[in-house]
């Protein structure tokens, strides 16, 4: 257990004080000895990657842990010990004194209840709202607070609302009983970039106005720094660093925090290579009893693994759990500086006269309900040159995935022409077998979700040989050699060939799926959000892999993403797709530095800084 003197904030009596909170499930530790403190009106962020235990910590505070997950330790809320309260009294506290907001706006609202009713439900026991008109007026006022001025919204069902709108309604419901503390668990992650920024800004505004305390649970370090007073960095079940947002951002004390900062692709510049943290996030009980980060840390020594380093005050108000802090502080600072210096503008491939891929006036229509026609793409034209990396940026519903799928022949465009390496490829089913095979070998796709991109019943070797089969006959020796070579190209050990996808991490699966698309020696890779489902530290590894592969194999990329910072790191040119139309195009530097279309401007201003 971490022996920690006291994590005191400036205020004498904190609203929330968590001591030695240990969460476990079935005898396995999920978090170990978490200490948290939150003053009235303060905003803190718990930052961590998947599996860090951040969400369960939040749930433990509200005593809403799933069954079979237990918590020990003390949670004192305004002097009251929440852990000791009977469930009946705890119910009085939830909603009234502390409230929660969850990630997925689409499942958070009851699908059979009108959105206004979600708020009314929370106000039902207040005598002053007995009267129907008074209640309706109050619901309207509450919706107004979260920026919903259209009185119609209260009458709508959740499925009629957009994601951002649902999240607003959920926020109004969470705030309906005027809690002193709001815990927001990834409130913006499931939303589009521009909506994300709106929701976070709204959350901050409401918090300030009400003087409410806020705990923001997020994986996004940049978001945490821009919205919170203090930061708690959590990793594999333990806190590694605590401090004020400004101080942690300027000078991280723990190598993990530094690693996260360096892994995060900067939106304002393109770096030659992101400095990624190697390996992947371990399970908490795998690294219990030592520094949880030691296995991935470049500075780890034997003493880091000898015992769990305590979280101690290393500077006023700054807590860190690195016992080598003083020895390595200078090196860490140098690395940070070096990472910023390596930022050089990559050579933008000159637009070639003979593009490898040319798509002209692509229209894709779907028949919607009751005979309506949905136009997903409204005449989109793009070009990709040999060895060029092109970004396709847009939000959900912009048609960016449809365009990607159309280019690789998974969808047939309603009209328009596609030419790939000189072969007309508008309609795959109408092509000759020779042309179709040639085109399949030229263009391949990497998919978003690493968990379903590989056949769960096929070993890695099987997945790769299936791909090899499509380009010809090989002897077993040739096949094995090629599989080994492909694995090497994506930096996976050869022994991985016998593994099943279920035993691979998200990043490893994405590497295998990249290897699979490389098996046919393609010239163009269409990458549909290939890193958006990965942890930040792993995301940097994969982005570096894409960069290396491009240099080694001379690949062209079409990088489909909603994340401008990601596209900045890999793309030479950018197309911005909005509601099925290209609204802006140009070199990555130019578009990001001087966006012309209002939508692009909005997109860029949404990046948390």
């Amino acid at each position: 257990m971490t022996a920690i003197a006291s994590v005191t904030t400036s205020q004498p009596l904190p609203l929330l004080r968590v001591r030695d909170l240990t969460i476990s499930a079935g005898g396995h530790a999920i978090t170990t000895g978490t200490n948290l403190e939150l003053a009235r009106g303060e905003t803190i962020a718990i930052v961590g990657e998947s599996g860090s235990g951040k969400s369960l910590t939040a749930k433990a505070i509200a005593r809403l842990l799933p069954p079979a997950v237990t918590a020990a330790g003390s949670i004192s809320y305004d002097g009251q010990d929440l852990m000791a309260l009977p469930e009946r009294e705890m119910r009085q506290i939830r909603g009234r004194r502390l409230s929660m907001m969850l990630q997925d706006p689409f499942t958070m609202l009851n699908p059979l209840m009108k959105s206004g009713l979600h708020i009314a439900e929370m106000l039902r026991d207040r005598p002053e709202f007995r009267d129907r008109t008074a209640m309706n007026a109050e619901v309207a006022r509450r919706l107004g607070e979260v920026g919903i001025t259209d009185p119609d919204v209260a009458e709508r069902m959740p499925f009629q609302l957009s994601g951002g709108m649902s999240q607003r309604v959920a926020m109004a419901a969470a705030l309906a009983r005027d809690p002193e503390l709001l815990i927001a668990d990834e409130p913006s992650t499931a939303l589009d970039v521009t909506t994300q920024a709106e929701i976070i800004a709204l959350l901050k505004r409401v918090q300030k106005k009400r003087g409410m305390s806020l705990i923001l649970i997020t994986h996004n370090l940049r978001l945490a720094f821009s919205t919170c007073d203090r930061i708690y960095v959590m990793y594999a079940g333990s806190l590694l660093e605590v401090g004020s947002a400004r101080a942690v951002e300027d000078d991280p004390f723990h190598p993990y925090t530094l690693g996260l900062l360096l892994s995060e692709p900067p939106a304002e510049k393109r770096v030659a290579r992101l400095i990624a943290i190697r390996g992947q996030v371990p399970r908490a009980d795998e690294v219990a009893g030592r520094c949880t980060f030691a296995d991935r840390c470049d500075w780890a020594k034997d003493k880091c693994r000898a015992g769990m380093p305590p979280l101690i005050e290393q500077a006023p108000g700054r807590f860190g759990a690195c016992i080598r802090r003083n020895e390595i502080a200078a090196e860490m600072r140098d690395l940070r500086g070096a990472a910023l210096e390596t930022a050089t503008v990559a050579l933008s491939a000159p637009p070639s006269d003979k593009p490898l891929l040319r798509a002209a006036n692509i229209v894709k229509e779907y028949s919607g309900r009751s005979g309506t026609v949905v136009r997903a793409l409204k005449g989109v034209s793009i070009e990709i040159g040999p060895g060029e990396s092109v970004g396709l940026v847009g939000e959900s519903g912009s048609g960016k995935t449809t365009l990607g799928r159309t280019l690789v022949g998974l969808e047939t465009p309603t009209s328009g022409a596609i030419e790939i390496a000189g072969i007309g490829a508008s309609k795959f089913s109408a092509m000759s077998a020779v042309d179709r095979t040639a085109t399949r070998r030229t263009i391949q796709m990497v998919f978003q979700d690493p968990y379903s991109t590989l056949n769960p019943r096929h070993s890695v070797r099987r997945s790769l040989t299936e791909a090899l089969r499509t380009i010809g006959r090989f002897t077993k020796a040739e096949r094995d050699a090629r599989v080994a070579e492909l694995l090497r190209e994506v930096s996976l050990p050869e022994s991985y060939a016998e593994r099943r996808p279920s035993s691979l991490s998200g990043g490893e699966r994405q590497r295998v799926s990249i290897a699979r698309s490389l098996a046919v020696n393609p010239k163009i890779l269409v990458c549909d959000e290939p890193v958006s489902a990965l942890d930040v530290s792993v995301q940097a590894q994969i982005l570096n892999l894409f960069k290396r592969l491009q240099q080694e194999l001379g690949l062209s990329y079409l990088f489909i993403t909603h994340d401008l910072a990601v596209v900045r790191q890999v793309a030479d040119r950018i197309y911005v797709l909005y509601l099925g139309e290209i609204v802006e195009q140009g070199s990555a530097e130019e578009v990001i530095a001087r966006p012309k279309h209002p939508y692009t401007q909005r997109l860029i201003s949404s990046i948390p800084r």
């Binding site: 998974l410 179709r436 998919f447 769960p456 299936e466 698309s517 046919v520």
Partner: protein, 281 residues
Amino acid sequence: MSLHIESAKPEAGTPRARISLGIALAFIVIAIVVFCALFGASIAPDSPFTQRLEVGDAPPSGQFLAGTDLLGRDVFSRVIYGAWTALVGPLVVAVGAWVIATVLGLLSGYLGGMVDSATMRWVDFMLALPAPLIAIVVVGVVGGGYWTAVLVLIILFTAPDTRIVRSAVLEQRPRPYIDAARALGISKTRILFVHILPNVLPIVLAYVVLDFAFALVNLAGLSFLGLGVEPGTPDWGRMLFENRTILFTNPVALLLPAFMIILTAVSMNLIGDWLFERLTR
């Protein structure tokens, strides 16, 4: 139809190593039945056909462990021999329905369109029929006994199984790994049988085991009505019919085959549930 005698689920976090007592017993029962079906001739104490009219329906004794029936045949030996028809027919029904349903379900789920509509309307039609009644009518009119009944049951069981395979295929079809295979230019047949089939097989397999239990009960029912096996064949359903009149003189002659039908069907159901839990997790 599914029975849970105790929670077969392992505790969260621990590997699925443990088998509950119920499952273990179910496997033992099926093993014994299979053994009897294969080696009945060598383990039965007596021939199932030897008639001893002078003995008649005697209660269990040292010589006849389960007594004798009206014709003085050894009931115990007849139950052992009866394992054959209790096993073979249901097995053929289960495997037959499984193969046909898998092919139809794969095609209908993956190809969609006309193939899908045609198959599903056929399934709807089949499901609207009262299955046991159809079997009785067909076997009664066409004749042919046991094997006609098996054939009819294959056709009847194919319909619901096709629907199950189809829904499993529909679940796999939109997954990116199928898109990836399509983008690589892998042929439709290969996608169906090499990429999708292994992912739907476990679900189907669990249902096949349940089919076996249904078929066992159905075939025994038809035999009881005299529409199954030839008269005189040692068969559990047939024995129920033949020995119903001696319930009070030698109740074992009736209760033992009845007990075996129930025990085998329940065991198969348990194994089916267990397989489903295990394979679809």
